[in-house]
C-alpha cells in the first residue's frame, strides 16, 4: 500500500505486477467455495470488461467455468444532470443472472458511485445469489458505504491525485500509473489523451 505523495507520473504497477495480482485475486475468488458452479464475472465498461475477461480465462485454467458479461452504467448514473457528452454503450448480460454468484469487476475503485449504479443495473436483470466486487486498484475516497471483496492493490492517495489503469487490450500495454495534482488536466500529455468517460472512475 502506498501512503505518500505520488511522484508524477509514477508507474505503480507494471505488466508482471498486474499479472501476479490478477492470479492472486483469482485464487482468492475460488477459495470462497460457495456457488462455484454458478460463477459469473461482469465487467464495468471500459476497462472492467477486459479485466473480467481475464478473470474468466484465469479461473478456467484452474478448472472452473464462469459466465462473462459487461455493463455500461451510463443510464444508471446519479450525475446525469451535471455531466454532458455521455454515450451509451451496450450492456451484455446474456446469461440468466438469477441464482448466480456474480463478481463485479472494475479497474479503479474510488467514490463507489459507479458500483452503486452497477448494482442497481444487475438487479434489474434478476436476482443473483450474491454479488461481490473485485477491483484492480482501490484508491480510497469513498462517498458511499461500498467496499471491495477482492482488491489488487490499495493506495491511500489524496483527492487531487489520480490513478489510471492501462490495459493492453485498449491501451497497448499493462500499467497502473499515478499522477500528482500538477499533472491533472495537463493537456496534450499522452496519458490524458483518453475520452473523459474513461477518466471517470
Amino acid at each position: 500500500m502506498i501512503d505518500r505523495p505520488i511522484q508524477s507520473p509514477e508507474i505503480l504497477m507494471n505488466n508482471t505486477d498486474i499479472e501476479r495480482v490478477l492470479l492472486r485475486m483469482s485464487h482468492e475468488i475460488l477459495e470462497q467455495k460457495d456457488h462455484l458452479n454458478d460463477l459469473a464475472f461482469v465487467g464495468i465498461k471500459t476497462r472492467g470488461e477486459y479485466l473480467a475477461h481475464r478473470f474468466v480465462s484465469l479461473v478456467k485454467g484452474m478448472g472452473v467455468r464462469a459466465d462473462f458479461g459487461t455493463l455500461d452504467i451510463t443510464l444508471y448514473r446519479d450525475d446525469f444532470d451535471t455531466l454532458g457528452d455521455l454515450t451509451v454503450g451496450e450492456t451484455d448480460l446474456l446469461f440468466d443472472v438469477a441464482g448466480k454468484r456474480i463478481i463485479l469487476v472494475d479497474d479503479v475503485l474510488h467514490s463507489g458511485r459507479t458500483i452503486r449504479a452497477a448494482l442497481d443495473q444487475i438487479i434489474d436483470f434478476g436476482r443473483p445469489a450474491k454479488i461481490e466486487l473485485a477491483c484492480l486498484v482501490d484508491r480510497g475516497g469513498r462517498e458511499l458505504p461500498i467496499t471491495a471483496n477482492y482488491v489488487g492493490q490499495t493506495y491511500q492517495i489524496s483527492s487531487d491525485e489520480y490513478i489510471q489503469v492501462r490495459l493492453s487490450e485498449v491501451d497497448g500495454e499493462d500499467q497502473v500509473i499515478g499522477f500528482s495534482k500538477d499533472h491533472r488536466g495537463a493537456k496534450g500529455h499522452k496519458y490524458f489523451s483518453h475520452s473523459r468517460k474513461d477518466l471517470n472512475n
Partner: protein, 317 residues
C-alpha cells in the same frame, strides 16, 4: 469511442441534423432496444423529468410510443389532447406551452396540423421541443426509426435503393425519410400517381416514377405510405380500387425488387390497399419491428436532448 456530440436543443426535423448526429441517435438506440429484453424494462436515467405530449392531431401509435419511451427511462408523462384541455377554450399554442413549462415540464413533444408549428414553439418556449409530426412538413422520429430499421436489416444505408410508394404529397414521413436517407448516402425513388407526387420533389434529390413496375427494379427497400383520405380535400385519384390495382405491393410485384428486399409501412396500414395481406404478414415485412424500434429511437432522442449530449463540464472523477 464515439466523439460526436449532440448539440441540438430541439428535434425539429431531419433537415436540421447532420449525418453524424443522425448516426449518434441511431447508435444510441441500440443499447436502448436491449433494455426491452430484460426482466425490468426500465432504467432510471430520466428519473424526476417530466415529458409532455402535446398532440393537436389524433395519434395512437406515435403518442403511445413517446409515452412508453419516456416511461422506460423513468420519466413522468403527461398527455395533453385538444378535447380535454384549454386548447378547446381557445388557448394559443405558445400559451399552452408556457403554461406547461410553468408546471416544470422538461421536454415537450408536439404534433400539429400546421407545418412549422414546432419550430414556432421552439423559438418561444424554453424547454426542448420534439416535433411529433407537423402538417405536411416533417416527422423526424418516424424517419429515424425507419432508418434504424433499415440499418438493422441491411447493415448500412449507403448505396441502398429505396422506393417510397404512394401518397408522397400529404406525407411528412416521406419528406423526413427522403432527407435522412440522402444524408446517409442512400438513393430514393418516389412512386405514385402524378396527383400524389408534389411538384419539385426532384429538388430533394429523388427520381420520380409513375409506374410501380418500372420503379421496383434493383430495389432494396419498399416503403409504402398510407393513403391519407382524411387529408384529401378533393379526389386525387379515381378510386381506392384503382389505386390498389396500380400501386399496391403484392407477392407478384415484390418479386420485381431484389430477392432480399424488405417492405416497410409507417402505419396505420390500410390492409389490402397499400399492401396485400400476404406481404404485410410475411417475413419480408418489418411493420411490427418498426413499432418496437420506434420506442428505442424515441428513448435515444429523449436521452440525447435531456442531457446525454450536452456540452461538457470540466472533468471531475
Amino acid at each position: 469511442m464515439n466523439q460526436v456530440q449532440f448539440k441540438q436543443k430541439h428535434l425539429l426535423g431531419l433537415a436540421e441534423l447532420s449525418k453524424e448526429e443522425i448516426e449518434l441517435i441511431l447508435s444510441t438506440a441500440v443499447p436502448m432496444k436491449q433494455i426491452f429484453t430484460r426482466s425490468v424494462k426500465k432504467v432510471p436515467v430520466l428519473r424526476g423529468k417530466t415529458v409532455v405530449n402535446l398532440f393537436y392531431e389524433p395519434s395512437t401509435r406515435t403518442r403511445t410510443s413517446f409515452e412508453i419511451a419516456a416511461k422506460r427511462l423513468s420519466a413522468d408523462v403527461i398527455n395533453v389532447t385538444p378535447s380535454t384541455s384549454s386548447i378547446s377554450k381557445g388557448e394559443s399554442l405558445v400559451d399552452t406551452a408556457k403554461t406547461l413549462e410553468a408546471m416544470n415540464s422538461d421536454i415537450i413533444v408536439v404534433r400539429h396540423k400546421a407545418s412549422g408549428a414546432p419550430h414556432f414553439l421552439a423559438r418561444r418556449a424554453s424547454s426542448p421541443i420534439i416535433n411529433g409530426g407537423d402538417g405536411f412538413h416533417e416527422h423526424p422520429s418516424q424517419a429515424l426509426l425507419d432508418l434504424f430499421t433499415i440499418k438493422e436489416k441491411k447493415g448500412d444505408i449507403k448505396d441502398l435503393k429505396i422506393a417510397i410508394v404512394g401518397d408522397i404529397l400529404h406525407s411528412r414521413v416521406s419528406r423526413s425519410d427522403i432527407i435522412g436517407i440522402h444524408k446517409l448516402g442512400g438513393e430514393v425513388r418516389v412512386v405514385g400517381p402524378p396527383t400524389l407526387i408534389p411538384k419539385d420533389i426532384e429538388k430533394l434529390g429523388c427520381s420520380v416514377y409513375h409506374r410501380l413496375e418500372d420503379a421496383l427494379e434493383g430495389i432494396d427497400v419498399i416503403y409504402c405510405l398510407r393513403i391519407q383520405t382524411e387529408r384529401q380535400t378533393h379526389k386525387l385519384f379515381p378510386s381506392v380500387t384503382e389505386y390498389t390495382r396500380l400501386y399496391a405491393i403484392n407477392e407478384a410485384r415484390l418479386k420485381l425488387a431484389k430477392k432480399d428486399a424488405i417492405v416497410m409501412h409507417p402505419g396505420p396500414m390500410n390492409r389490402g390497399i397499400e399492401l396485400s395481406a400476404d406481404v404485410a404478414y410475411s417475413d419480408r415485412s418489418t411493420i411490427t419491428e418498426q413499432v418496437t424500434n420506434g420506442i428505442a429511437i424515441r428513448m435515444a432522442i429523449f436521452f440525447l436532448l435531456l442531457g446525454g449530449g450536452r456540452s461538457v463540464q470540466e472533468i471531475t472523477d
